[in-house]
Symmetry: C2
Subunit: 224 residues, 2 copies
C-alpha cells in the first residue's frame, strides 16, 4: 500500500519516532524502511544524504516528494491521507487550535532536552561550565512543569479527549525523558499520560527496538 | 470581519511578523491588536499573560481559541479560512511537501540566529567564550548557504512558483538577517528573494513600524 514511501530512521530518536507513529496512525503499511545506527554514522551515508542532504534522520520520501522535518512529514501524511486511518488534526476550531498549539509548542521541550542532553557534544570541553549544566537542568525542569500542568488540568490527551498530532509530536519526548529517569512521583500527570499512550497500537508497533530488551537503568534526570 | 481575533505583537519579531503576514494573506482585517514594547517588558503584563502564560509574543486568540506558537497560528488561520484570501498550503502533493518541509526547516535558521543574537542575553558573562561566538557565527553562515542554494536552484519562492506558508515563516528571518548587515554580494539569491518578497502587499502592510524611519546601519553580520 505504501510501497512508494521510504523512511530512514534511528531507534529512539524522537523525530523519527513521530513519523513512524504517524504512518501507523494513517494505516500506511509496507513502506520501505532502513534502520540506521547513529553510532556508526550511517545517517551520513550516501543513500541517506540523497534524501536528506543535512545527513539527519528522519529522511522521508513519498514518490519524489521529500519531507525530512518530522513535523512537516507528519502534517504532510495527515493532509495527503485524510480519510485513511485515524484523523490527527480535528476539524472543530477549538480542538484544532489546541492541536496545532501543543504540537508546535512541544518544540520548546525538545530544545530544552537537546540543550541538556547534547551539551557535551555541542560545547568543546574547554568551554564547559557546571553552572551551564545546572541552568539547562533547571530550564528543562521548568518546561516539564508546564506540561505537567497542562495534563493535570486537561487531558487525557494533549488536545483533549482524542489522540491527535499533538501527541504524535510530544509522546516520543516524554518517553525518552522518563527513560532517562525523570521522577514519576513529581510528575504524576505526565506519568499517567505516558502509561496511557504507551499501550496505543501505533506506539507499541513502533517502540524503539533497542529499548525492548534494554531497560532504562539511567537516572540522569531523576532529581528533576 | 475579524473582530473576534486579538493579537499582541512586537515590532520586528520574526514570529510576530509571521502571524501579521498570514492575517493579511487570508484577508482578515479589523482584528484587535496591541503593539508591545519588549524593552519595557510589556509582554510580561497581565493582559498578555492571560493569552500566553509563557509571557511571549505573539499572543493570539480567535474567539476563545488560543494559538500562540507562530507556525501553529499560521497553520490554524490557513485551515480555518481556507477559501479566504490567498491559499498558503498548496493542494498538489509535490508543492505541499516542499511547503511543509521548508516552513518547518526554517526553524533551523531561526535557532542558529537565536544562538548568535541572544548569546549575551542567555549566557552569563563569566561563562562566555569568544570561541563560542565564532562557532555560532560559522553555524549561521553555513545555514544561510543552505538557503542560498535552495533559492539558487529553485524559486522564485521557497516552495516554487507561488508564495506559500514556507515564505510566511522564512521571510521575516531573512529580512532581519539582512537588516543586521548580511553581505548581499555573497548571498545574491537570498537578496533577490528578499527584494521580491518585500514589496508584496501583505509584507509591506506589516513592515515593522520601528524599521520604517530607522535604517539598518548595523553590520553585525556583514562578514558572514
Amino acid at each position: 500500500m505504501a510501497q512508494d514511501m521510504t523512511l530512514h530512521w534511528s531507534s529512539g530518536s524522537p523525530p523519527c519516532w513521530r513519523v513512524l507513529i504517524a504512518l501507523e496512525e494513517k494505516n500506511l503499511k509496507g513502506y520501505n524502511q532502513k534502520l540506521l545506527s547513529m553510532e556508526k554514522g550511517e545517517h551520513k551515508g550516501k543513500e541517506t544524504l540523497d534524501i536528506n542532504p543535512r545527513g539527519q534522520v528522519p529522511a522521508f520520501k513519498h514518490g519524489n516528494n521529500v519531507v525530512n522535518e518530522s513535523i512537516a512529514a507528519c502534517l504532510y501524511l495527515e493532509s495527503q491521507f485524510k480519510s485513511s486511518g485515524n484523523k490527527l488534526i480535528p476539524d472543530s476550531a477549538q480542538e484544532q487550535a489546541l492541536t496545532y498549539q501543543r504540537a508546535l509548542e512541544a518544540l520548546n521541550l525538545q530544545q530544552r532536552l537537546a540543550d541538556l542532553a547534547q551539551y557535551t557534544m555541542r560545547v568543546p570541553e574547554a568551554e564547559r561550565h557546571d553552572s551551564a549544566v545546572k541552568r539547562n537542568r533547571e530550564a528543562l525542569a521548568a518546561e516539564l512543569q508546564i506540561w505537567e500542568g497542562y495534563l493535570q488540568k486537561g487531558g487525557p490527551y494533549l488536545a483533549g479527549k482524542n489522540f491527535s498530532m499533538a501527541d504524535v509530536v510530544f509522546f516520543p519526548l516524554i518517553a525518552i525523558i522518563l527513560r532517562f529517569g525523570l521522577s514519576q512521583e513529581k510528575h504524576p500527570s505526565l506519568t499517567r499520560y505516558y502509561n496511557q499512550v504507551k499501550d496505543r497500537p501505533s506506539v507499541k508497533a513502533t517502540w524503539p527496538p533497542h529499548w525492548v530488551n534494554n531497560p532504562p537503568g539511567m537516572d540522569m534526570l531523576k532529581d528533576l
